[in-house]
């Protein structure tokens, strides 16, 4: 399957990118492309404009601030996986990276892109939620911080405006017990169900339209997962209970 036609833009700066997003109708940001390009290839996504931000300078740093780790927009997942800084300051995020697809995908995919794409079965948004992190979003109107609890609106939807770019994701450091566990069919697949433990907090992924916080003592309360080829709602609930028990057993 080949992508449908689109107008292609490759801004060289964040300002230019924001200006484009502010002025173009039906535009999507292309960062790592590991989620977007398959959708283009299936012709399930048909944006009129593609704003490729890979040429933007100065967005590829991992650095510490405010007791946590900031990961800028163009930082590849592989870089986070390999980062000694992240391993020291937020080891949960390092562990999570190793569960994301395969290395070859992580070589291109970005952490911020994964958050902005908001796949409900994806690990990184759930880690952000469990840790209580935030993203920094910029548009021509300026910059704002959006905490994880307010970021995910629905399946593949963030609450960000169409003209906002995620320029940075911030993950608080974790020094309590933590774990990320998932059940998937094959190594590297999307999770049928997954849990992130950050201290006494619990976030679930793969079992709701967005990652959700849950009570470790009653993780499936109010949970209504959907069913698909590999897992019925019931099986998902069962897995949530099994994984939560395992995550909090240590």
């Amino acid at each position: 399957m080949k992508p449908p036609p689109f107008e292609y833009h490759a801004p060289a700066s964040v300002e230019e990118a924001c200006k484009l997003l502010g002025s173009l109708e039906d535009a999507k940001i292309l960062a790592g492309g590991q989620s977007l390009i398959p959708l283009l290839n299936f012709r399930l996504a048909r944006p009129r404009h593609l704003v490729d931000i890979n040429r933007v300078d100065g967005l590829d740093r991992i650095y510490e601030r405010d007791g946590g780790v900031a990961v800028q927009a163009l930082v590849r997942q592989a870089a986070v996986e390999d980062s000694k800084l992240v391993a020291r300051a937020c080891s949960l995020l390092s562990d999570a990276m190793r569960l994301v697809a395969h290395r070859v995908i992580r070589n291109r995919g970005t952490v911020c892109g994964s958050i902005a794409h908001a796949d409900p079965a994806s690990e990184v948004p759930a880690v952000l939620l469990a840790l209580g992190g935030h993203v920094v979003a910029r548009s021509t109107q300026g910059e704002r911080t959006v905490p994880a609890e307010q970021l995910f609106g629905g399946m593949f939807e963030t609450t960000l405006a169409p003209d906002e770019v995620v320029i940075e994701a911030w993950f608080p450091g974790i020094h309590d017990s933590f774990a990320i566990l998932e059940e998937s069919r094959r190594h590297g697949d999307f999770a049928l169900a997954g849990v992130v433990r950050a201290g006494e907090k619990l976030a679930l992924f793969g079992v709701a339209p967005t990652p959700v916080l849950a009570d470790p003592r009653d993780p499936t309360r109010d949970l209504e997962p959907s069913g698909d080829v590999e897992a019925t709602p019931e099986f998902r609930l069962h897995l949530v209970r099994v994984l939560t028990e395992k995550a909090f057993a240590a």
């Binding site: 069919r185 094959r186 590297g188 697949d189 999307f190 698909d228 080829v229 897992a231 099986f235 069962h238």
Partner: protein, 780 residues
């Protein structure tokens, strides 16, 4: 004569160019070809009320858009490849549907454009109006026949075949014990990594059609195109270049594109190429494996099978181009390596609103093995006997060959096993498997199978020694990764006493060898391998005759060794094979390369004309091998698995294969075939599933959701083999291409059954399926 190459783990001669990226797969061929895209029905069953291609035709970059109305053969049904008297209601589709579509993915229009990108854009502009009709998806629904797939096929039954050996009714009535069982296999798909592709060019000047096709039978495609387009066969060339995996779906012949692409090339004056993408591979390429079996078995206190009745439904899909070969194979293979003195099997091949079924590696045998193995396990459980002991009591013994099973085989003959040693397979496998690992929820899986291989009608080979001393060989069948170029070279090199690297093999190219059948059903080594042997032997005989005249020796005293023809035991009295090639062609004009020796004033070894009656110039021969019947391979797989009682994840702790494919030409190639087959079997048993919904839509038509195993899902396996040579062919070989996959479902099912204590009677399985089965078994 000592054999140097036969049986040796020769590294493959074809590897170098494949590793360098110089393979030549059909999509690699451009030559300015136009590219194509199909418009396919999104409905599994619908009436077409209108097709509008005007907008598509008008798009820039689009060269042509075809519907059935545009084709001179638009009303012609594609060939029914394997007719059978019991296939009373066979149906095939047309290249492009115009009236009714019967599976989601059936082709409705064909777009040809400057690039695939543009063709896909144009395809979106084709407007087809459909009136949905009721959909029949499961074999059970098809048999219930509340709705028909074809209006003129009552009960959705394409064919019904009943066979009986002995008197099953009487034997069941008299049996001390009886049991009824039901087994269910869902559809599976082969999914070779290279999807299908066809490239064609029509040369006006030469009046010749050239087609490259990722097919398992170029000779058949050539024959069919010649007939359809009214061309002499000699004006049609079909070449199977490198093929990225076949596994069965590419032996389905005359997919619509195989006709439409050459047609477009003939019409448009430019080469045309169509390359399938993975999504359409899921809906437009044949599948297999759907069957439902109702079994009744009668047995005694010792667990010996006295009578077996199997009544099964075969999911044939929406059309029956491949006839009823698959259920015939299943019916023939249910008894397997066991004595079933009274056997009755009836099948109905039913239509469903899904793509047609045709062989996928195993081709009806996995189901047969599953039925028999699970039945024996059920017998053992009921009697409280050891399942290994029950098998031993039923196995055909080594002194019972040839053993007549009595039902019909896919070549029209009766099933007769030629040789084998089934008890040895079982004993060795269990010995290798060893003791049960510690821990809970561990189960042992076990299955023994037989496999009818090497069917005819025939294959042929041409072998020639060139004046340089190098050897070229060719056969009509193509290869899809089985290492034919190396394996045939080994056979030829042994006969001609040359190095395997000096034998260059061409396969699957009708320009080079126009006769033959195809690569399928584990027949390559048996048929083409023996044809290579026959042809090479003829060349060796001729070489000895010519050399004998020049050496003044008796041909029986000569041998071919090290590129020479020489007197046995006298390495100094010989002439190079290259020189014999020169001498085989009497010439008037020398042109170098030693040809002076063959001119009229050179020493003449015998009186009379240079070519005597019946002689031909050249050191070459064409030979054929036509098997009298199938030769029967066999094997035993055994495994330990652990199933996580909470997540129902499967862990294969150990997997052992002991197999018998007669004499082994190349153990390295064979090992690869078995390892690959087992992996495909594991995929089909626990990871892959074709999730059709009630509307006949395939919900998981992509690699993201159709889960083929990665390396992380496939354990290392141990392989051992025994050799019971085939008495039916000169090389004593049996086929091995499908061996790895056949019993895997039965092995995994029986292992999980034991690990969880839940009866498993269906395929495929998954954590979800095991969760649901365990809940059903232990509610609350």
């Amino acid at each position: 004569m000592t054999t140097r190459w036969f049986g040796a783990p020769v590294q493959r001669v074809e590897d170098d160019r494949l590793l360098r990226g110089h393979g030549r797969y059909t999509d690699d061929i451009d030559d300015g070809a136009l590219e194509c895209c199909f418009v396919r029905s999104p409905y599994a069953h619908a009436r077409i009320t209108s097709i509008d291609v005007n907008a598509a035709r008008a798009m820039q970059g689009v060269v042509a858009v075809y519907t059935a109305a545009d084709l001179p053969f638009g009303g012609v049904d594609l060939p029914l490849l394997i007719p059978h008297p019991n296939l009373t209601h066979g149906r095939t589709q047309r290249c492009l549907a115009s009236d009714v579509v019967r599976y989601a993915g059936e082709a409705v229009a064909f777009v040809v454009a400057e690039s695939r990108y543009i063709a896909e854009d144009a395809a979106e502009l084709v407007q087809v109006e459909y009136e949905p009709l009721p959909v029949v998806i499961t074999p059970e629904d098809a048999a219930r026949a509340e709705h028909l797939v074809h209006d003129d096929v009552p009960g959705n039954v394409a064919a019904e075949l009943l066979q009986e050996v002995g008197d099953v009714a009487a034997a069941l009535a008299a049996a001390p014990h009886r049991k009824t069982l039901r087994f269910r296999y869902e559809r599976g798909a082969a999914n070779p990594l290279e999807a299908r592709a066809v490239w064609a060019r029509w040369s006006i000047a030469e009046h010749k059609l050239t087609v490259y096709d990722s097919t398992q039978s170029p000779t058949s495609i050539r024959g069919g195109l010649a007939v359809l387009f009214g061309l002499a066969e000699s004006n049609v060339e079909v070449i199977a270049p490198d093929i990225g995996g076949g596994f069965g779906p590419k032996i389905m012949l005359f997919y619509p594109d195989e006709v439409l692409v050459p047609y477009a090339a003939m019409q448009l004056g430019r080469p045309v190429k169509w390359t399938e993408d993975r999504q359409e591979h899921f809906t437009a390429v044949n599948q297999e494996r759907g069957q439902v079996h109702e079994v009744e078995v009668g047995f005694d206190d010792q667990g010996r099978v006295l009578a077996l009745s199997d009544d099964f439904i075969h999911d044939g899909g929406a059309y029956t181009p491949y006839g009823i070969i698959l259920p015939i194979i299943t019916a023939a293979q249910v008894p397997g390596p066991y004595r079933v003195p009274n056997y009755r099997v009836r099948f109905r091949d039913v239509y469903t609103n899904a793509i047609a079924t045709s062989p996928y590696r195993g081709a009806g045998r996995p189901h047969a093995c599953f039925v028999m193995e699970r039945t024996l396990d059920a017998i053992a459980t009921q009697l409280g006997l050891d399942r290994v002991e029950v098998r031993h009591r039923n196995l055909i013994q080594r002194d019972e060959f040839p053993y007549t099973v009595g039902v019909v085989w896919q070549d029209g003959n009766t099933v007769v096993y030629d040789s084998g040693d089934y008890p040895e397979l079982l004993d060795r496998a269990l010995k290798r498997l060893g003791p049960r690992p510690e821990g809970d929820h561990v189960g042992r899986g076990l299955a023994i199978y037989v496999e009818g291989t090497g069917v005819g009608p025939y294959e042929g080979a041409h072998v020639q020694v060139l004046v340089s001393g190098k050897v070229i060989a060719a056969t009509g069948i193509p290869n899809q990764g089985q290492g034919h170029a190396t394996v045939w070279a080994q056979v030829v090199a042994d006969e001609l006493g040359v190095d395997v690297k000096d034998v260059e093999v061409t396969s699957g190219d009708t320009r080079r060898f126009p006769w033959g059948v195809g690569t399928f059903a584990s027949r390559g080594a048996v048929t083409a391998g023996n044809a290579m042997y026959v042809a090479a032997r003829m060349v060796a005989t001729k070489a000895k005759q010519i050399a004998a005249e020049h050496l003044e020796a008796n041909p029986d005293d000569l041998e071919l060794v090290g590129g020479q023809v020489r007197v046995k035991g006298m390495p100094d009295r010989g002439i190079p094979l290259a020189a014999v090639a020169v001498l085989s062609n009497p010439v008037r004009y020398a042109f170098g390369g030693g040809t002076e020796a063959a001119t009229q004033f050179a020493a003449r070894p015998r009186p009379g004309p240079p070519l005597q009656d019946g002689e031909q110039p050249g050191l070459e021969a064409t030979g054929y091998y036509s098997p009298p019947g199938s030769t029967w391979a066999a094997g035993c797989h055994a495994a330990y698995v652990r199933v996580d009682p909470k997540t129902f994840r499967l862990e294969i702790l150990k997997y052992v294969v002991v197999h018998d494919c007669g004499r082994v030409i190349n153990p390295l190639v064979l090992q690869g075939q078995i390892e690959g087959g087992v992996a495909q079997g594991i995929g089909g048993a626990f990871y892959e599933r074709l999730a059709y919904d009630a509307d006949g839509q395939l919900r998981n038509a992509s690699f993201m959701e159709f889960l083929m195993p990665y390396a992380t899902e496939i354990p290392a396996i141990e392989i051992d083999h025994i050799e019971t040579p085939s008495p039916l062919n000169p090389l004593g070989v049996k086929g091995a291409g499908e061996a790895g996959v056949i019993p895997v479902g039965a092995v995994i099912a029986s292992a999980i059954d034991e690990a969880l204590g839940i009866p498993i009677t269906e395929m495929p399985l998954s954590p979800l399926k095991l969760y649901e089965l365990s809940r059903r078994n232990n509610p609350g």
